[in-house]
Symmetry: C2
Subunit: 173 residues, 2 copies
DNA sequence: CTACTTAGTTGTGAATTACAACTTTCTGGT
DNA sequence: ACCAGAAAGTTGTAATTCACAACTAAGTAG
Protein backbone atom coordinates (compact mmCIF):
# COMPACT_ATOMS: atom_id res chain seq x y z
CA UNK A 1 0.00 0.00 0.00
CA UNK A 2 2.56 2.52 1.05
CA UNK A 3 5.77 2.85 -0.85
CA UNK A 4 8.19 3.93 1.83
CA UNK A 5 11.10 1.73 2.56
CA UNK A 6 12.82 0.91 5.75
CA UNK A 7 16.54 0.30 5.88
CA UNK A 8 17.44 -3.31 6.63
CA UNK A 9 18.32 -4.22 10.16
CA UNK A 10 21.82 -4.95 11.26
CA UNK A 11 22.81 -8.43 12.28
CA UNK A 12 23.24 -7.59 15.91
CA UNK A 13 19.55 -6.92 16.23
CA UNK A 14 18.65 -10.43 15.29
CA UNK A 15 20.92 -12.09 17.81
CA UNK A 16 19.27 -11.20 21.11
CA UNK A 17 15.90 -11.68 22.67
CA UNK A 18 15.09 -15.22 21.72
CA UNK A 19 14.22 -16.10 25.31
CA UNK A 20 10.60 -16.78 26.04
CA UNK A 21 8.76 -13.97 27.74
CA UNK A 22 8.06 -15.00 31.30
CA UNK A 23 6.36 -13.03 34.06
CA UNK A 24 5.19 -14.20 37.44
CA UNK A 25 6.13 -17.70 36.38
CA UNK A 26 3.84 -17.54 33.38
CA UNK A 27 4.90 -17.62 29.80
CA UNK A 28 2.97 -14.78 28.31
CA UNK A 29 3.68 -15.19 24.65
CA UNK A 30 0.00 -15.93 24.30
CA UNK A 31 -0.67 -12.30 24.83
CA UNK A 32 2.55 -10.94 23.53
CA UNK A 33 2.15 -12.29 20.05
CA UNK A 34 0.42 -9.08 19.12
CA UNK A 35 1.66 -5.59 18.43
CA UNK A 36 -1.22 -4.20 20.38
CA UNK A 37 -0.19 -5.90 23.59
CA UNK A 38 3.34 -4.54 23.42
CA UNK A 39 2.19 -1.08 22.55
CA UNK A 40 -0.34 -0.99 25.33
CA UNK A 41 2.13 -2.35 27.85
CA UNK A 42 4.87 -0.02 26.70
CA UNK A 43 2.52 2.90 27.00
CA UNK A 44 1.80 1.97 30.56
CA UNK A 45 5.45 1.73 31.51
CA UNK A 46 6.52 4.82 29.63
CA UNK A 47 3.69 6.90 30.99
CA UNK A 48 4.29 5.87 34.54
CA UNK A 49 7.98 6.58 34.25
CA UNK A 50 7.25 9.94 32.70
CA UNK A 51 4.80 10.80 35.47
CA UNK A 52 7.48 10.09 38.02
CA UNK A 53 10.03 12.20 36.22
CA UNK A 54 7.54 15.04 35.86
CA UNK A 55 6.45 14.71 39.46
CA UNK A 56 7.70 18.13 40.42
CA UNK A 57 6.02 19.86 37.47
CA UNK A 58 2.37 20.82 37.28
CA UNK A 59 1.90 19.07 33.95
CA UNK A 60 2.52 15.69 35.53
CA UNK A 61 0.02 12.90 35.23
CA UNK A 62 -1.52 14.04 32.03
CA UNK A 63 -1.17 12.70 28.55
CA UNK A 64 -2.74 15.80 27.18
CA UNK A 65 -1.15 18.53 29.23
CA UNK A 66 2.36 17.97 28.01
CA UNK A 67 1.33 18.00 24.38
CA UNK A 68 -0.84 21.07 24.84
CA UNK A 69 1.88 22.96 26.66
CA UNK A 70 4.52 22.22 24.06
CA UNK A 71 2.15 23.14 21.25
CA UNK A 72 1.30 26.50 22.79
CA UNK A 73 4.96 27.13 23.46
CA UNK A 74 5.81 26.40 19.88
CA UNK A 75 2.79 28.01 18.23
CA UNK A 76 1.72 31.23 19.93
CA UNK A 77 -1.92 31.89 19.16
CA UNK A 78 -2.81 28.28 18.54
CA UNK A 79 -6.46 27.39 19.03
CA UNK A 80 -7.94 24.86 21.41
CA UNK A 81 -9.60 23.06 18.51
CA UNK A 82 -6.24 22.53 16.86
CA UNK A 83 -4.89 21.04 20.03
CA UNK A 84 -7.97 18.85 20.24
CA UNK A 85 -7.24 17.49 16.80
CA UNK A 86 -3.66 16.64 17.66
CA UNK A 87 -4.73 15.05 20.91
CA UNK A 88 -7.59 13.20 19.23
CA UNK A 89 -9.86 14.28 22.03
CA UNK A 90 -13.11 16.16 21.92
CA UNK A 91 -13.40 19.83 22.71
CA UNK A 92 -14.75 19.55 26.23
CA UNK A 93 -11.86 17.31 27.21
CA UNK A 94 -9.36 19.58 25.55
CA UNK A 95 -10.94 22.59 27.16
CA UNK A 96 -10.43 21.10 30.58
CA UNK A 97 -6.82 20.34 29.85
CA UNK A 98 -6.40 23.97 28.87
CA UNK A 99 -8.22 25.01 32.04
CA UNK A 100 -5.63 23.19 34.06
CA UNK A 101 -2.76 24.88 32.26
CA UNK A 102 -4.35 28.29 32.62
CA UNK A 103 -5.03 27.68 36.27
CA UNK A 104 -1.42 26.66 36.76
CA UNK A 105 -0.35 29.89 35.13
CA UNK A 106 1.43 28.24 32.23
CA UNK A 107 -0.67 29.63 29.40
CA UNK A 108 -3.34 32.27 28.92
CA UNK A 109 -6.38 32.61 26.70
CA UNK A 110 -7.13 35.55 24.43
CA UNK A 111 -9.82 36.12 21.86
CA UNK A 112 -8.64 35.26 18.39
CA UNK A 113 -8.35 38.42 16.31
CA UNK A 114 -9.81 36.82 13.20
CA UNK A 115 -12.58 34.79 14.74
CA UNK A 116 -14.40 35.97 17.82
CA UNK A 117 -15.62 32.46 18.55
CA UNK A 118 -12.14 31.10 18.86
CA UNK A 119 -9.48 31.53 21.46
CA UNK A 120 -5.84 32.12 20.89
CA UNK A 121 -3.52 30.55 23.41
CA UNK A 122 -0.23 32.00 24.52
CA UNK A 123 2.52 30.72 26.72
CA UNK A 124 3.41 32.64 29.86
CA UNK A 125 6.89 33.19 31.10
CA UNK A 126 6.39 30.55 33.69
CA UNK A 127 4.87 28.21 31.12
CA UNK A 128 7.86 28.63 28.87
CA UNK A 129 10.16 27.62 31.68
CA UNK A 130 8.01 24.61 32.41
CA UNK A 131 8.07 23.67 28.72
CA UNK A 132 11.83 23.87 28.80
CA UNK A 133 11.95 21.53 31.76
CA UNK A 134 9.48 19.19 30.13
CA UNK A 135 11.66 18.93 27.06
CA UNK A 136 14.63 18.19 29.28
CA UNK A 137 12.76 15.47 31.11
CA UNK A 138 11.63 13.88 27.87
CA UNK A 139 15.16 13.98 26.55
CA UNK A 140 16.40 12.44 29.76
CA UNK A 141 13.89 9.63 29.54
CA UNK A 142 14.84 9.15 25.95
CA UNK A 143 18.48 8.77 26.91
CA UNK A 144 18.03 6.63 29.98
CA UNK A 145 15.11 4.53 28.96
CA UNK A 146 15.85 3.74 25.38
CA UNK A 147 19.57 3.35 25.78
CA UNK A 148 19.35 -0.32 24.91
CA UNK A 149 18.55 0.51 21.34
CA UNK A 150 21.66 0.97 19.29
CA UNK A 151 21.92 4.47 17.82
CA UNK A 152 21.48 3.28 14.26
CA UNK A 153 18.51 1.13 15.16
CA UNK A 154 17.00 3.95 17.11
CA UNK A 155 16.33 5.74 13.89
CA UNK A 156 14.76 2.65 12.39
CA UNK A 157 12.57 2.12 15.41
CA UNK A 158 11.51 5.74 15.37
CA UNK A 159 10.67 5.54 11.69
CA UNK A 160 8.54 2.48 12.24
CA UNK A 161 6.70 4.12 15.08
CA UNK A 162 6.13 7.20 12.99
CA UNK A 163 4.85 5.18 10.08
CA UNK A 164 2.59 3.17 12.32
CA UNK A 165 1.21 6.32 13.83
CA UNK A 166 0.56 7.98 10.49
CA UNK A 167 -1.10 4.94 9.01
CA UNK A 168 -3.29 4.47 12.01
CA UNK A 169 -4.46 8.03 12.05
CA UNK A 170 -5.24 7.70 8.38
CA UNK A 171 -7.36 4.64 9.00
CA UNK A 172 -9.38 6.38 11.62
CA UNK A 173 -10.43 9.20 9.32
CA UNK B 1 -1.78 34.82 15.06
CA UNK B 2 1.50 33.28 14.24
CA UNK B 3 -0.08 29.99 13.27
CA UNK B 4 -0.08 29.29 9.59
CA UNK B 5 -3.28 27.75 8.38
CA UNK B 6 -2.00 25.50 5.68
CA UNK B 7 -4.52 23.14 4.12
CA UNK B 8 -4.43 19.55 5.34
CA UNK B 9 -2.08 17.20 3.62
CA UNK B 10 -3.35 14.78 1.05
CA UNK B 11 -2.79 11.09 1.38
CA UNK B 12 -0.12 11.08 -1.24
CA UNK B 13 1.78 13.65 0.72
CA UNK B 14 2.07 11.21 3.54
CA UNK B 15 3.59 8.34 1.68
CA UNK B 16 7.15 9.35 2.42
CA UNK B 17 8.62 9.10 5.84
CA UNK B 18 10.64 12.22 5.47
CA UNK B 19 7.55 14.40 5.24
CA UNK B 20 7.21 16.68 8.20
CA UNK B 21 4.52 15.46 10.53
CA UNK B 22 1.64 17.90 10.20
CA UNK B 23 -1.67 17.87 12.06
CA UNK B 24 -4.29 20.58 12.19
CA UNK B 25 -1.92 22.79 10.27
CA UNK B 26 0.77 22.40 12.89
CA UNK B 27 4.08 20.73 12.44
CA UNK B 28 4.32 18.53 15.45
CA UNK B 29 7.84 17.26 15.20
CA UNK B 30 8.45 19.16 18.39
CA UNK B 31 6.49 16.52 20.20
CA UNK B 32 7.16 13.66 17.91
CA UNK B 33 10.89 13.69 18.32
CA UNK B 34 10.47 11.29 21.18
CA UNK B 35 9.69 7.60 21.40
CA UNK B 36 7.36 8.28 24.26
CA UNK B 37 5.10 10.50 22.23
CA UNK B 38 4.68 7.92 19.49
CA UNK B 39 4.12 5.13 21.94
CA UNK B 40 1.54 7.07 23.87
CA UNK B 41 -0.26 8.16 20.73
CA UNK B 42 -0.14 4.69 19.25
CA UNK B 43 -1.57 3.27 22.44
CA UNK B 44 -4.46 5.66 22.21
CA UNK B 45 -5.27 4.74 18.63
CA UNK B 46 -4.76 1.02 19.07
CA UNK B 47 -6.81 0.89 22.24
CA UNK B 48 -9.68 2.80 20.77
CA UNK B 49 -9.71 0.60 17.69
CA UNK B 50 -9.60 -2.48 19.85
CA UNK B 51 -12.46 -1.23 21.98
CA UNK B 52 -14.55 -0.78 18.88
CA UNK B 53 -13.74 -4.23 17.62
CA UNK B 54 -14.50 -5.75 21.00
CA UNK B 55 -17.68 -3.74 21.34
CA UNK B 56 -19.91 -6.80 21.30
CA UNK B 57 -17.88 -8.64 23.93
CA UNK B 58 -18.08 -8.08 27.66
CA UNK B 59 -14.33 -7.63 27.95
CA UNK B 60 -14.44 -4.45 25.90
CA UNK B 61 -13.07 -1.21 27.20
CA UNK B 62 -10.56 -2.70 29.51
CA UNK B 63 -6.85 -2.99 29.22
CA UNK B 64 -6.80 -5.47 32.02
CA UNK B 65 -9.77 -7.65 31.25
CA UNK B 66 -8.43 -9.02 28.01
CA UNK B 67 -5.10 -9.95 29.53
CA UNK B 68 -6.71 -11.49 32.58
CA UNK B 69 -9.13 -13.52 30.52
CA UNK B 70 -6.45 -14.88 28.23
CA UNK B 71 -4.22 -15.72 31.17
CA UNK B 72 -6.93 -17.66 32.95
CA UNK B 73 -7.81 -19.42 29.73
CA UNK B 74 -4.22 -20.41 29.22
CA UNK B 75 -3.32 -21.17 32.84
CA UNK B 76 -6.13 -22.84 34.76
CA UNK B 77 -5.72 -22.22 38.46
CA UNK B 78 -3.70 -19.04 38.04
CA UNK B 79 -3.79 -16.65 40.98
CA UNK B 80 -5.00 -13.07 41.03
CA UNK B 81 -1.63 -11.93 42.35
CA UNK B 82 0.08 -13.41 39.32
CA UNK B 83 -2.26 -11.56 37.05
CA UNK B 84 -1.60 -8.40 39.00
CA UNK B 85 2.10 -8.78 38.37
CA UNK B 86 1.63 -9.21 34.64
CA UNK B 87 -0.73 -6.25 34.53
CA UNK B 88 1.56 -4.16 36.72
CA UNK B 89 -1.43 -3.13 38.77
CA UNK B 90 -2.08 -3.42 42.46
CA UNK B 91 -4.23 -6.12 43.96
CA UNK B 92 -7.37 -4.08 44.54
CA UNK B 93 -7.42 -3.04 40.91
CA UNK B 94 -6.76 -6.55 39.74
CA UNK B 95 -9.42 -7.89 42.08
CA UNK B 96 -11.99 -5.64 40.50
CA UNK B 97 -11.02 -6.72 37.03
CA UNK B 98 -11.53 -10.28 38.15
CA UNK B 99 -14.84 -9.31 39.72
CA UNK B 100 -16.02 -8.10 36.37
CA UNK B 101 -15.01 -11.31 34.63
CA UNK B 102 -16.66 -13.42 37.31
CA UNK B 103 -19.79 -11.34 37.14
CA UNK B 104 -19.87 -11.76 33.38
CA UNK B 105 -19.61 -15.50 33.84
CA UNK B 106 -16.30 -15.83 32.04
CA UNK B 107 -14.24 -17.16 34.91
CA UNK B 108 -14.80 -18.51 38.41
CA UNK B 109 -12.90 -18.37 41.66
CA UNK B 110 -11.95 -21.34 43.77
CA UNK B 111 -9.83 -21.64 46.86
CA UNK B 112 -6.29 -22.64 46.03
CA UNK B 113 -5.61 -26.17 47.26
CA UNK B 114 -2.11 -25.37 48.46
CA UNK B 115 -2.74 -22.00 50.02
CA UNK B 116 -6.03 -21.19 51.64
CA UNK B 117 -5.39 -17.48 51.37
CA UNK B 118 -5.09 -17.60 47.62
CA UNK B 119 -7.65 -18.08 44.92
CA UNK B 120 -7.35 -20.24 41.89
CA UNK B 121 -9.05 -18.93 38.78
CA UNK B 122 -10.66 -21.08 36.14
CA UNK B 123 -12.19 -20.32 32.80
CA UNK B 124 -15.82 -21.17 32.21
CA UNK B 125 -17.20 -22.59 29.02
CA UNK B 126 -18.55 -19.23 28.11
CA UNK B 127 -15.27 -17.57 29.03
CA UNK B 128 -13.37 -19.92 26.79
CA UNK B 129 -15.59 -18.98 23.89
CA UNK B 130 -15.08 -15.31 24.63
CA UNK B 131 -11.33 -15.86 24.78
CA UNK B 132 -11.50 -17.50 21.39
CA UNK B 133 -13.32 -14.51 19.98
CA UNK B 134 -10.89 -12.13 21.62
CA UNK B 135 -7.98 -13.88 19.99
CA UNK B 136 -9.75 -13.63 16.66
CA UNK B 137 -10.37 -9.94 17.09
CA UNK B 138 -6.76 -9.33 18.02
CA UNK B 139 -5.59 -11.28 15.01
CA UNK B 140 -7.95 -9.33 12.82
CA UNK B 141 -6.64 -6.04 14.12
CA UNK B 142 -3.15 -7.30 13.60
CA UNK B 143 -3.92 -8.07 9.98
CA UNK B 144 -5.93 -5.00 9.14
CA UNK B 145 -4.17 -2.41 11.21
CA UNK B 146 -0.55 -3.33 10.78
CA UNK B 147 -0.78 -4.29 7.14
CA UNK B 148 1.46 -1.41 6.15
CA UNK B 149 4.44 -3.07 7.72
CA UNK B 150 6.22 -5.37 5.35
CA UNK B 151 6.30 -8.98 6.55
CA UNK B 152 10.04 -8.96 7.14
CA UNK B 153 9.90 -5.64 8.92
CA UNK B 154 7.03 -6.85 11.00
CA UNK B 155 9.26 -9.32 12.73
CA UNK B 156 11.87 -6.66 13.33
CA UNK B 157 9.32 -4.23 14.68
CA UNK B 158 7.94 -6.86 17.00
CA UNK B 159 11.39 -7.72 18.23
CA UNK B 160 12.11 -4.09 18.99
CA UNK B 161 8.87 -3.70 20.85
CA UNK B 162 9.60 -6.82 22.82
CA UNK B 163 13.07 -5.69 23.67
CA UNK B 164 11.82 -2.27 24.69
CA UNK B 165 9.20 -3.84 26.89
CA UNK B 166 11.61 -6.21 28.59
CA UNK B 167 14.17 -3.54 29.23
CA UNK B 168 11.64 -1.16 30.64
CA UNK B 169 10.20 -3.70 33.00
CA UNK B 170 13.69 -4.52 34.12
CA UNK B 171 14.40 -0.89 34.89
CA UNK B 172 11.30 -0.58 36.97
CA UNK B 173 12.27 -3.38 39.33
C1' DC C 1 3.50 -18.68 70.30
C1' DT C 2 4.23 -14.19 68.75
C1' DA C 3 5.52 -11.21 65.00
C1' DC C 4 5.77 -10.59 60.38
C1' DT C 5 4.43 -11.39 55.75
C1' DT C 6 1.27 -12.50 51.97
C1' DA C 7 -3.45 -12.87 49.45
C1' DG C 8 -7.39 -10.84 48.78
C1' DT C 9 -11.33 -7.54 49.77
C1' DT C 10 -13.71 -3.16 50.73
C1' DG C 11 -13.96 1.88 51.26
C1' DT C 12 -12.99 6.05 49.31
C1' DG C 13 -11.43 9.75 46.53
C1' DA C 14 -9.04 11.61 42.54
C1' DA C 15 -8.48 11.89 37.67
C1' DT C 16 -9.82 11.14 32.94
C1' DT C 17 -12.92 11.21 29.38
C1' DA C 18 -17.12 11.09 26.54
C1' DC C 19 -21.79 12.65 25.35
C1' DA C 20 -25.46 16.01 25.43
C1' DA C 21 -26.99 20.57 25.56
C1' DC C 22 -26.16 25.32 25.41
C1' DT C 23 -24.29 30.24 23.81
C1' DT C 24 -21.88 32.91 20.67
C1' DT C 25 -20.06 33.74 16.25
C1' DC C 26 -19.29 32.92 11.50
C1' DT C 27 -20.71 31.51 6.63
C1' DG C 28 -23.34 30.39 2.57
C1' DG C 29 -27.41 30.46 -0.22
C1' DT C 30 -31.19 33.01 -1.56
C1' DA D 1 -29.63 41.54 4.05
C1' DC D 2 -31.47 37.47 6.22
C1' DC D 3 -31.89 33.01 7.88
C1' DA D 4 -30.29 28.22 8.46
C1' DG D 5 -26.70 25.63 9.61
C1' DA D 6 -21.98 24.89 10.95
C1' DA D 7 -18.21 25.74 14.08
C1' DA D 8 -15.75 27.16 18.67
C1' DG D 9 -15.99 26.80 23.26
C1' DT D 10 -18.28 25.97 27.84
C1' DT D 11 -20.89 23.51 31.39
C1' DG D 12 -23.35 19.53 33.29
C1' DT D 13 -23.21 14.89 34.13
C1' DA D 14 -22.12 10.19 34.33
C1' DA D 15 -19.12 6.27 33.60
C1' DT D 16 -14.73 4.32 34.06
C1' DT D 17 -10.33 3.57 35.89
C1' DC D 18 -7.08 3.47 39.31
C1' DA D 19 -4.41 4.06 43.54
C1' DC D 20 -3.92 4.37 48.54
C1' DA D 21 -5.40 2.99 53.12
C1' DA D 22 -7.34 -0.15 56.14
C1' DC D 23 -9.08 -4.49 57.02
C1' DT D 24 -9.49 -9.98 57.48
C1' DA D 25 -7.69 -14.43 56.91
C1' DA D 26 -3.93 -17.50 56.32
C1' DG D 27 0.75 -18.85 56.05
C1' DT D 28 5.84 -18.50 57.90
C1' DA D 29 9.91 -17.66 60.67
C1' DG D 30 12.20 -17.15 64.94
Amino acid sequence: MTTDRTPPMTDTDRTHDEEPLTLAGLQIDVLAGAFSWYIRSLDFVVSRDLDQRMGHLDVAKGKGKITALLLVDRYPGVRPSQIAEVLMRDRPTTGRIIDALVKAGDIRREADADDQRAHALFITERGHEVAEQVRNVIQLQEDEFFDFIEPEDREVFMRMLKRAYLNMRKKLE
